[in-house]
């Protein structure tokens, strides 16, 4: 499924978001940040295992064009109980692909509240802020928060030692998750 970039209305400040599930918790991501949504079973290309003990959230990578994309298990990233993942978000302008349980729905948010200052650890990188939908608070993830520059450097170093085959559209290989 290809997602077009969200159009912003000039008069109303709204943002189209995707609510997704990860280990029974619901998160939101801007639909503009998601380039493709793939089933883990139908991912074109050849996911390759990658092991970096300090980054257990990344266990697979694949090659797209000139770049390595790293598959981030969202449950492990957020410190949640790992759960069977069904979908993969390929993120726009990012080298992270996000492994999630499923999509709840697409909707629109009208207000993004800053994360309260009392939250003062990694969550400040994880989230753009919080939004309220149907009297429920939903964290809005930051697409750039899944892999830091240091983590990407580390993964690139590990990947350089591996022979990564070029992505082939005729090859349909699952992530085996």
């Amino acid at each position: 499924m290809q997602l077009a970039a969200a159009h912003k209305s000039p008069s109303v400040r709204t943002e189209q978001i995707i609510l997704f599930r990860c280990s029974s918790q619901v998160f939101a991501i801007s639909s503009a940040a998601v380039q493709e949504v793939r089933s883990v079973d139908s991912l074109a290309g050849s996911p390759q295992e990658i092991t970096e003990p300090t980054l257990p959230k990344v266990r697979h990578m694949f090659r797209r064009g000139e770049r390595n994309l790293y598959v981030v298990n969202a449950a492990i990233h957020f410190g949640l109980r790992p759960s069977p993942s069904a979908l993969l978000f390929l993120l726009r302008k990012s080298r992270a692909a996000l492994l999630i349980d499923g999509i709840e729905k697409m909707t629109t948010m009208t207000r993004l509240q800053a994360l309260p200052a009392a939250f003062c650890h990694e969550e400040r990188l994880w989230y753009r802020g919080l939004t309220v939908l149907d009297q429920t608070v939903v964290p809005v993830v930051s697409p750039s928060g899944f892999l830091t520059a240091e983590e990407l450097f580390l993964l690139d170093t590990v990947a350089a030692r591996l022979a990564v085959p070029e992505s082939s559209p005729t090859t349909e290989v699952g992530l085996g998750l």
């Binding site: 009392a118 969550e123 608070v137």
Partner: protein, 158 residues
């Protein structure tokens, strides 16, 4: 939260955490509300339990009872919503309390150098000496964390 320089009569809100009573200066109290649904999501700040919604605003819930009394609250009677300056913005924090709160006026005795950082001052009320809490030292604050990380000088933070 402003420091206490001298003996000073101030309005304070007494709050109960289990068997003990504490106080906060009234100027830092926004309101007292009945417990409502706590929304929890993934984060790494252990002092924060979750967030509540109050008048459309997302307010973090910070249970300070364990830190102050050694025991978690088994019963939440109210949330005392306190405010503090965080950079240019006013930050709200909901403190669960286990009993009624009371507004009093009392003379504040400044905290001494040997007092814990969470003690802003002391008051005497009903034959009891009560700690006036320094919210900045009790509830985490990303502005302070950033300052501490950027500072080359070692700095004590709660």
């Amino acid at each position: 939260m402003s420091g206490i320089e001298n003996f000073d009569a101030r309005s304070c809100v007494l709050l109960r955490l289990g068997e003990r009573r504490f106080a906060l200066t009234a100027e830092h109290i926004a309101e007292l509300v009945a417990p409502s649904r706590v929304f929890r999501f993934a984060h790494r700040t252990p002092e924060i339990d979750g967030v509540i919604l109050r008048r459309g605003r997302v307010v973090p819930v910070c249970d300070v009872a364990e830190r102050l009394t050694g025991k978690k609250l088994t019963y939440r009677r109210f949330y005392l919503i306190a405010t503090r300056r965080s950079g240019a913005t006013l930050d709200w924090v909901a403190l669960p309390v286990s009993g009624e709160c009371e507004l009093i006026t009392a003379d504040l005795t400044p905290a001494g150098a040997s007092d814990s950082p969470h003690v802003l001052a002391w008051i005497s009320h009903d034959g009891e000496v009560i700690e006036v809490l320094n919210l900045d030292a009790l509830a985490p604050n990303s502005a302070q964390t950033a300052l501490a990380q950027n500072s080359s000088q070692p700095e004590a933070h709660a």
